[in-house]
Amino acid sequence: MSEKVLMKGNEAIAEAAIRAGCRHYFGYPITPQTELAAYMAKRMPKIGGCFLQAESEIAAINMVYGVAATGKRVMTSSSSPGVSLKQEGISYIAGSDLPALIVNVQRGGPGLGGIQPSQSDYFQATKGGGHGDYHLIVLTPASVQEMADLTGLAFELADKYRMPAMLLADGTMGQMMEPVELPETEPEFVDKPWALTGTGMKREHNIVNSLYLVPEELERTNLERFERYKLIEEKEARWESFMTEDADVCVVAFGIAARVSKNAVVEARKLGIKAGLIRPITVWPFPKKPIAEAAKTCKAFVSVELSMGQMIDDINLAIGCSRPVSLCSRVGGMIPSPEEVLESIKKAAGGNE
C-alpha cells in the first residue's frame, strides 16, 4: 500500500512523536486536541511506551518534568486553558534546562472561551508564558504534513539546546485531515551526560533543579541561558517566503492564517497588486531578518492573525516601525476569509500612494 496516509493534524503529531522516539506521554483531554491523547492511548501500550492520563494538566506537566530529567524524549499536549495550567511546570522545566515537547492546539479565549480555532496564545507562547526569564522554541505548523515534520524537529531542537519546545497549532490544524508522509528514518539521539540515569557508582551524581540559593549563581545561570537564546535567535529562525521579491504589500501570517493569506495574495496578484507573504515557521525565534529585509522594498505590512493583534508587535519591532503595519483579524473561534485578507491588502496598497 501507499506510503501516504490520511491523518488528522492531532494524530500526525502523535505518530510523528512516536517515530521521533518519544515513549512517554502525559496529558489530560481537552477539545480540540483530544485525538492526540486518544491516539497515544491506543499506540503507546503496543510499543512498550507509557501513556498516562493524569488527574490534571498540572500533574501531567510535572510528570513531563520528571521524565525530561532522565533524558528521555517526553511530551504533553493540551489546548489553551489547559496550557495556561501547565505554565508553572513549563517554567520549572525551562529553569532546569530540560528538553521536552509541549503541544498547544489553541482554541478561543480568554477564560474557558470556546472550542473553535484561535491563535491568541501567541504572547504566552513566545514571551515566556510562566514566571521568570525564559523562552521556548515555538514552531507553527500550517499543514498536517508540517504537524508531523515539525514534531520531529521540535524534539531535535529541544535536545540540542536543552530547553522545552512548543508546537503552537490551532483547532483547524488539529482537526483537519490531509495526506501525510511519515518519516521512516530512525531518530537520532544526542548524548545527555546531565541526565538522571543512576551513577552506577562510577560518576558523581547529577542534579536537576531550578532553585538557586545564591543570587550570584542564579544570575550567572540566567546570563548563560540567554547566551544560548542569542545563538538560537541567530541560527534557528525558520520561515517561508511567497512572492515577496517584488512585493509592495507584505502579508505576515502563520498556521491557518497563512493558508488563507496565501489565497488572498494570489488573488491580489491577479488584480495587479504586488502582494507577498512571509510565513513564520518559528515564532520564537521570530524571523526578524526576512521581515526587516522586506521592509527595505515594500510599502506596508499586513499582519493576519486569529487574535486581537499579538504578532503585529513583533513585526513592528523587526522593522523598527519603519513601515505601516495593519491588522487583519478575526477572534473568538472565527477565521478571516480570503476576501477579508484581500480587502486589507487593497487598503495597505492604496493607503501609501
Partner: protein
C-alpha cells in the same frame, strides 16, 4: 442501483468519511424520489460536521436534525429530542450519521431497540484503508466489532471509502480493493459500493463506484 431501506446508518472509524457519505446518500435517496431526513448523531467530533452541509441539504429539501450545540463554541455531547421523530414517523426515510469508533457509537445504543424492532435498516461500515489505525482488513474488522458492541446494531454491509483527501488518485482507491474484499470475507458482509470524489470516480476501476460531492473548504 442502490436499494434503500427506511433507515440507513453510517458507522466507522473516525475520519473514515461517514459524514460525507451520509450527506451524499441522502441526496441519492431524494433523487430516487423519496422524502428523507438526515440526523447528525456525532457526539465526538468538534469540527467538520453534517451541519456544514446544512445549506446544500435544505436546498434539496432535506431536513437536518443536529445537536443544538453542533459547530458552536461549546462541547456538549447532547442529542436533540427530535431524533425520536425519525423512528416514530415511518413515512420518511432516515439517514443517520453516527460518531466515530465505539465511543461515537454509544450514542446509538438508546435508539438500537427501536431500529431493531422496525427491522427495516441498513447499517453500513465505512472503511478508509488510508487511515493509520485501519490500514488492513484485520484492523478495520476489530473496529467493526467494537462499534457493534457499543451501538447494538449489527452491520449489514461495507462501503470502501478509501481516500487521501483532495490528493486522491484513481489508483489509490484501486489499491485498497483487496483489503476491502478481505474485510467483506472476514465479516461475511457484502461490499456494496466503493466511493470516490466526483472528479475521479469515473476512472476508478472497481465494482459499484459511487461519486461523492465533497464539502468545500477555502483554506
Amino acid at each position: 442501483m442502490l436499494k434503500f431501506k427506511r433507515v440507513t446508518l453510517f458507522c466507522g472509524h473516525y475520519g473514515s468519511g461517514k459524514t460525507n457519505i451520509a450527506v451524499n446518500y441522502a441526496f441519492w435517496i431524494k433523487e430516487a424520489g423519496f422524502d428523507v431526513r438526515v440526523a447528525d448523531m456525532d457526539i465526538v467530533n468538534p469540527y467538520f460536521r453534517t451541519k456544514d452541509s446544512e445549506k446544500e441539504l435544505s436546498e434539496k429539501g432535506i431536513d437536518l436534525i443536529s445537536p443544538k450545540y453542533a459547530n458552536s463554541n461549546v462541547d456538549l455531547p447532547a442529542l436533540p429530542q427530535e431524533l425520536y421523530g425519525l423512528f416514530q414517523q415511518k413515512d420518511k426515510y432516515a439517514v443517520l450519521d453516527i460518531g466515530g469508533d465505539d465511543r461515537g457509537a454509544y450514542a446509538l445504543g438508546r435508539f438500537a431497540p427501536l431500529i431493531l424492532e422496525e427491522n427495516n435498516f441498513d447499517c453500513l461500515f465505512v472503511a478508509n484503508f488510508f487511515r493509520p489505525l485501519t490500514r488492513t482488513a484485520q484492523e478495520a474488522y476489530e473496529v467493526m466489532k467494537e462499534i457493534e458492541a457499543a451501538g447494538g446494531v449489527p452491520f449489514t454491509s461495507i462501503v470502501n471509502n478509501s481516500n487521501l483527501g483532495e490528493d486522491t488518485l484513481p489508483e489509490n482507491v484501486e489499491s485498497t480493493q483487496g483489503e476491502a474484499l478481505r474485510l467483506a470475507e472476514l465479516s461475511a458482509l457484502p461490499l456494496v459500493m466503493t466511493t470516490a470524489k466526483g472528479s475521479i470516480a469515473a476512472q476508478v476501476n472497481c465494482d459499484n463506484v459511487m461519486p461523492l460531492t465533497l464539502q468545500k473548504k477555502y483554506y
